[in-house]
């Protein structure tokens, strides 16, 4: 176990922020750390806490330093506090302070807005760990188990990064918020996580892959826009987090891809041409493509909701204040202030979805969502390549953004996945074909049997092309603790 009395923060916590000489943050971290370790210990089944996991640890921000691989027990993971190196002469990239020197301290007038953004971002990090806490028990391989834990510890580290910012820059309020991050918990009735999507348990591995592909990608977009912040420490923190977030996308994309690959392989081996021959496909221990499409529909639409309202004053304020930019703000060729610019957003008028021009400043969320949609489409194309290569006649599609929405202008209206308004009856009839049913869930659950022998995989998923850290196929990614 971690020796909490004698934590040498400067040596045990990899950091590039001068932790050992920063009395303020040290004192705050010392108070916070035990609560964090408790949180972690309560969360992860004991068997896994004591297992040795082959994890990547970031120990510094240079390319060599942020991917050191070794076996470690998760609670002893070295939760680095690492910020991307400071860029000399960086200026505020957007809003009314455009071009002024980036803030190295929190500007008093935006303190609360910044704090709120950081708290919301921070709240999602432990939230996803909580949602995924039992997945280790049904991991389809040691390789996948290791990837799950890698994602978990990195979400944990991202929590550290946000807590560091809160403790370093937001005084007493910040410390209280940092503590509350450990008080709230996913799915809790007393104190749930702030965003709805982080209060749903991740029930199975396909959900996990979909989550890391779609929902973590929302996280990535949020980090991208915070990386454009005029508050330099936030920008630097998020830039470094993005290097880790890329791995989560990888886990999601390859996880779904390997599931598809196995389904197609089994279909071919058994001469099944019709992807809708669901019972037969399922009887062979793989997940049929229409069900994968339904899972995709669900996770994609939940993730779209995370972007908030199409027209948002909060987002406009944050952009104008220069504390949150757009995706790759520096590559956009405009005044970066959006003084007169407009942007096309969806609205709902006279019973149908229409597109409208609104002041671009108020459409910041929508723009980020559009960038997200483009970004998310890439992996779907690669999945289709796998299907095509296997000679199966099926194409996965992102549903129309009006489908299954709980937030924004489409909420409360019956759209089908193609974006067509349908009647209530049509909607009810369509839903079992569009979104996973409980029966689908039962079936997927039935496949979730743990496989813990090195190099072996569950029936429904193909092995990866390449091992982590180029390890051979039978590498023991997790040395399970046997009680």
């Amino acid at each position: 176990m971690v020796d909490l009395i004698n934590v040498s923060y400067d040596t045990q916590i990899p950091n590039n922020v001068g932790l050992s000489s920063d009395r303020k943050v040290l004192k705050a971290l010392e108070k916070w750390h035990p609560g964090y370790i408790n949180w972690w210990n309560d969360l992860i089944p004991e068997k896994f806490q004591k297992s040795m996991v082959y994890l990547r640890t970031a120990v510094s921000v240079d390319p060599k330093g942020w991917a050191k691989f070794d076996y470690v027990k998760m609670p002893e993971y070295r939760w680095g506090v690492l910020l991307a190196p400071q860029v000399e002469g960086r200026t505020i990239p957007c809003g009314e302070h455009y071009g002024q020197a980036a803030w190295q301290e929190v500007p008093g007038e935006y303190r609360n807005m910044l704090k709120r953004l950081i708290v919301i971002q921070g709240d999602t990090e432990p939230g996803s760990v909580e949602q995924q806490r039992f997945l280790g028990l049904t991991a389809p391989s040691l390789y996948d188990m290791r990837n799950l834990f890698q994602v978990n510890v990195e979400e944990g580290r991202h929590l550290w990064a946000m807590v560091y910012l809160l403790q370093k820059y937001f005084g007493r309020d910040g410390r209280e918020e940092a503590n509350d991050l450990l008080v709230r918990s996913s799915g809790s009735e007393e104190a749930p996580r702030m965003l709805g999507a982080f209060n749903e348990e991740t029930p199975d591995w396909l959900s996990f892959f979909m989550f890391t592909y779609f929902t973590d990608r929302d996280g990535k977009m949020q980090l991208e826009s915070l990386a454009q912040s005029g508050f330099d420490p936030l920008s630097r923190t998020c830039r470094f987090m993005l290097t880790e977030e890329a791995h989560h996308m990888f886990v999601g994309e390859t996880g779904v891809g390997r599931t598809i690959e196995k389904t197609c392989q089994v279909m071919r081996e058994n001469g099944i041409e019709d992807p809708y021959d669901i019972d037969k496909i399922r009887s062979l221990g793989v997940i049929d493509l229409p069900t994968i499409q339904k899972k995709l529909n669900l996770h994609y639409t939940l993730s779209l909701d995370l972007f908030g309202q199409e027209v948002s004053t909060n987002a406009a304020n944050a952009f104008n204040a220069g504390i949150k930019g757009r995706f790759q703000e520096h590559r956009i060729d405009d005044d970066h202030m959006l003084k007169d610019a407009t942007y096309t957003v969806w609205d709902f008028e006279d019973g149908k979805a229409v597109q409208k021009e609104v002041p671009a400043l108020t459409a910041i969320n929508m723009r980020l969502r559009d960038d997200y949609i483009k970004d998310a489409a890439g992996g779907v194309g690669r999945w289709n390549k796998i299907i095509e290569k296997a000679g199966v006649q099926f194409e996965l599609k992102l549903p129309h953004e009006s489908f299954n929405r709980k937030i924004g202008v489409f909420a409360g209206h019956n759209f089908d996945p193609d974006g067509k308004i349908v009647s209530g009856a049509e909607y009810d009839a369509g839903i079992p074909n569009w979104l996973p049913t409980h029966a689908d869930g039962d079936f997927i659950q039935s496949l979730m049997v743990p496989v813990t022998e090195p190099g072996k995989f569950a029936s429904w998923i193909a092995p990866p092309k390449v091992g982590i850290d180029n390890k051979p196929g039978d590498f023991e990614y997790v040395k399970l603790h046997m009680a």
Partner: protein, 552 residues
């Protein structure tokens, strides 16, 4: 504003007032020099006044109390034949920026309150001897006196013509004093306030607009008789000699304003003024006689005068400094000892005057339209009267525990009896009573801590400060608070603070500073008064103001 408005003056410099002393009776004669306006562009005709006239009046009132404690009755009259006073100069108002009008009204209100309270506070009773036209601000001067005598010459009248003539209000307490102090029936007050020519003779007396109406032939005589009579009936003890209010030692430069005991440091980028009050450099005098001997050099009087001047300076000359930060440095025990000596001798005239003066200065703080903050740092001397500042400000921050590299004595707050009623606010409650309006038990607890040097945790426990902060948080929290405060709309801040500061009951004073002033300031922003064709602009052109007839 390029021209610095100076609130320091003395009788040798007066242009508008003369004061004659005759034993217990003083006569204050208003004789405004029409060519000596504070700014260009208007003439102070008919004994009309501007801020400069009022600064002198304020000085008269103050010196009357400190330099002439033998005075028991003060007669205010006009030095001109046909007019008592025509009120605030309309051309000055028409040409002034909104901010100046507001500050002008606030200062004149404070001065009216001061001579109005002179009877109760110091036994100096003011009589208005009204001969000639007494209109608008002129009648408001009279209203603030304790006794109004009007000559019955068939032309002299009292009037509040602001509404019909200028489309503004009698805003220097006029409307409020007519109903609250003179207790004029509201329908009569309604008539009185809507007619230009005012009311004269017997009716003025019947309606309680004046106390006496006197035949013109006997006017001077009766006024003199009444003054002597009031003086003779006064319970104010005889005092042979006052003290001299010597000029303040003050320099003003780019960095701020510097006095012996008060240091004002200006941070224009941060829109902030830091006002540091020093503790005494010596033990309290051994006796009250010594305090009298020290005169204007005595610690608490000198500090009050310097602070008062600093407040006025910042209010009128530094309008963009929206945040005032009070600090103190010194020995709290010494501060308390100085105050204790006065409290123990409050029947001594000077002790009383100094304590009353502090009451007024603290009220000035209360009604100042700036965000007010106090820092209780190590080495502070917030004891008794200075602790009162903590309860006047919008927020206070106190250092907790030792700070690295700071060897000043640990921050403390020391309450004294005086914090529980000696310096009431405009609402007639002590600041602590107001602070603890919803928790009277906290007031009792605080009383139990009188005399103790309370460190941060105890002060926090007693609810005496907003927030206590240790070494680690202090700089950041304070900086961020100040930056945030400086970024808010000054208008919203003024409105919010003025509303939050005065919890509890209404008094005439709170109604003047709250209700009347707020309505007046609203009207001062409306085109019907100040627009190009508004009444204030058109005054004197022969053309009436043009009004938008929509009721808002």
């Amino acid at each position: 504003m390029s021209k610095v408005i100076d609130f320091q003056t003395d009788p040798s410099k007066y242009r508008h007032w003369k004061v004659e002393y005759d034993g217990p009776v003083a006569t204050v004669i208003m004789d405004v020099d029409e060519d000596a306006g504070l700014f260009d562009g208007y003439k102070l005709k008919l004994n009309s006044y501007d801020l400069g006239v009022d600064i002198e009046l304020s000085d008269v009132v103050q010196r009357m109390r400190f330099e002439h404690p033998e005075v028991k009755t003060v007669v205010m009259k006009s030095g001109k034949d046909l007019v008592f006073c025509a009120g605030a100069n309309i051309r000055m108002l028409g040409g002034a920026a909104h901010s100046h009008k507001v500050n002008f009204c606030k200062f004149t209100n404070e001065t009216r309150n001061t001579f109005e309270a002179a009877e109760q506070d110091s036994g100096q009773k003011w009589i208005a001897a009204v001969k000639g036209a007494c209109a608008g601000g002129g009648y408001e001067l009279a209203l603030a006196c304790n006794h109004i005598m009007l000559t019955d010459d068939s032309t002299s009248s009292v009037a509040l013509p602001e509404v019909p003539l200028l489309a503004v209000l009698p805003g220097t307490g006029g409307l409020t004093r007519v109903t609250d102090k003179r207790k004029v029936r509201r329908d009569r007050a309604d008539i009185f306030c809507s007619i230009e020519e005012g009311i004269k003779g017997k009716r003025a007396k019947d309606w309680r607009l004046v106390d006496e109406v006197i035949p013109n032939s006997k006017f001077e005589e009766t006024v003199a008789e009444r003054a002597r009579e009031f003086a003779a009936n006064s319970t104010k003890p005889d005092v042979e000699k006052g003290i001299e209010l010597t000029p303040l030692n003050r320099t003003i430069d780019d960095k701020g304003v510097h006095y012996d005991l008060v240091e004002v440091e200006i941070d224009r980028d941060g829109r902030k003024a830091t006002i540091t009050l020093s503790g005494p450099d010596a033990d309290a005098p051994g006796s009250i006689d010594e305090v009298v001997a020290q005169g204007a050099e005595g610690y608490l009087l000198k500090l009050a005068r310097e602070l008062d001047d600093a407040i006025m300076h910042l209010r009128l000359n530094e309008m963009e400094l929206g945040l005032w930060v009070f600090r103190t440095q010194g020995d709290p025990e010494q501060v308390k000892a100085h105050e204790d000596l006065l409290l123990a001798n409050e029947d001594n005239w000077l002790a009383n005057e100094i304590l009353q003066f502090w009451k007024r200065v603290l009220k000035r703080v209360d009604v100042t339209s700036r965000s007010l903050t106090a820092l209780v740092e190590h080495g502070s001397c917030y004891a008794g009267v200075l602790a009162e500042l903590l309860f006047a400000v919008d927020r206070s921050y106190m250092m907790e525990d030792e700070f690295e590299g700071d060897n000043r004595p640990i921050a403390t707050i020391t309450l004294s009896e005086s914090n529980f009623g000696r310096y009431p606010m405009g609402n007639d409650l002590s600041r602590l009573e107001t602070r603890f309006l919803g928790e009277p038990e906290s007031l009792e607890k605080a009383k139990g801590a009188i005399g103790e040097a309370l460190e941060a945790e105890e002060a926090d426990e007693l609810g005496l400060v907003t927030m206590i902060l240790d070494d680690i948080d202090w700089d950041d929290e304070i900086r961020i608070f100040m930056e945030e405060r400086a970024s808010f709309s000054p208008d919203a801040m003024t409105g919010m603070e003025a509303n939050l500061r005065f919890a509890g009951p209404e008094t005439m004073e709170t109604r003047i500073f709250g209700r009347l002033t707020a309505w007046q300031n609203w009207i001062f922003n409306r085109p019907n008064a100040v627009g190009e064709n508004g009444a204030l602009q058109r005054y004197g052109t022969g053309v009436r103001g043009e009004y938008n007839m929509e009721r808002v």
